[in-house]
Symmetry: C2
């Protein structure tokens, strides 16, 4: 039996020589594994860099492609303007607006709420004005704000109500 | 001298024992290196997956952010339409169109050329019409085509000139 022959050969050598042999083999295998792992790692790194480039390119490409029909409709609206078809121009612009809103909504865009109290996390106060409204409430939106997911992409620029104005002809004491 | 003492100690052991010791140390170091490399690789893989997600999100976010002023101007144009300021509406739409074109150009979008011969790589022939133009030339563009970098994102949909029409009152032979 070949196995027995092998065992005999091992036993013929000293225990130290056997261990040396085993350690040498183990070392070789470890070096081999290490080299293969290093090569795999290098390849993975290269592939990841390539993947990232193409992912970014494709993410941009997807939105660009979705913007093409909007560009088409905008051009059609401008053609209507050229031929003085005002109603058609207006309808076209409304359509473009709706499409762009839908595209952005699909990307996760949502308008910042402006009903209620001024919130410095999502609003930017450009002015404080005396008002009949409750002090600290938003009374006018100068530029809409937007969130993307849970991040504020642009705060809403608003006018905030100051202290209530005293009536010029105040009640008599 | 400490070095000499060390050397003496090594010489006291048999050459095999010295080699065994060296191999055992080498083995331990290899296993250690291997484990660290494996851990680095695992961490790298996890980080790469996270990075890719955020890269894709950011690529979309960048374009979404650039679309906000266009959405603003579109809304301003619609307000002009509401108050029947036709000239302002038209100017607004022209501005929006220019902005959208510039944004898309910056993303690498370029219109497909349609001057000249029909090219199946970038054109889609919807019709062939008898024409005075050279046979096989593009005589009308029904929908603009676009390239993104070196790829055709959308072919131009065109009408192609068929064989020249024979003059109804042909020259006498």
């Amino acid at each position: 039996m070949p196995e027995d022959v092998e065992n005999q050969e091992v036993e013929e050598t000293s225990p130290e020589t056997g261990e040396l042999e085993a350690l040498r083999n183990e070392n070789e295998e470890l070096i081999d594994t290490l080299q293969r792992l290093q090569a795999d790692f290098d390849n993975y790194r290269k592939r990841a860099a390539r993947d990232q480039e193409s992912l970014v390119a494709r993410a941009g490409e997807r939105i660009v492609k979705e913007l093409l029909p909007i560009l088409d409709d905008l051009e059609r609206a401008l053609e209507a303007a050229d031929s003085h078809e005002e109603a058609k121009l207006e309808d076209g612009v409304k359509l473009v607006h709706r499409q762009l809103e839908q595209l952005l909504e699909k990307e996760g865009l949502a308008p910042v709420e402006t009903d209620g109290r001024f919130d410095p996390h999502v609003h930017e106060a450009l002015l404080t004005q005396p008002s009949d409204a409750d002090e600290g409430s938003v009374i006018e939106v100068l530029q809409k704000g937007y969130r993307l997911g849970d991040r504020v992409l642009r705060p809403a620029r608003v006018v905030v109500a100051g202290p209530k104005e005293e009536s010029p002809s105040g009640n008599p004491p």
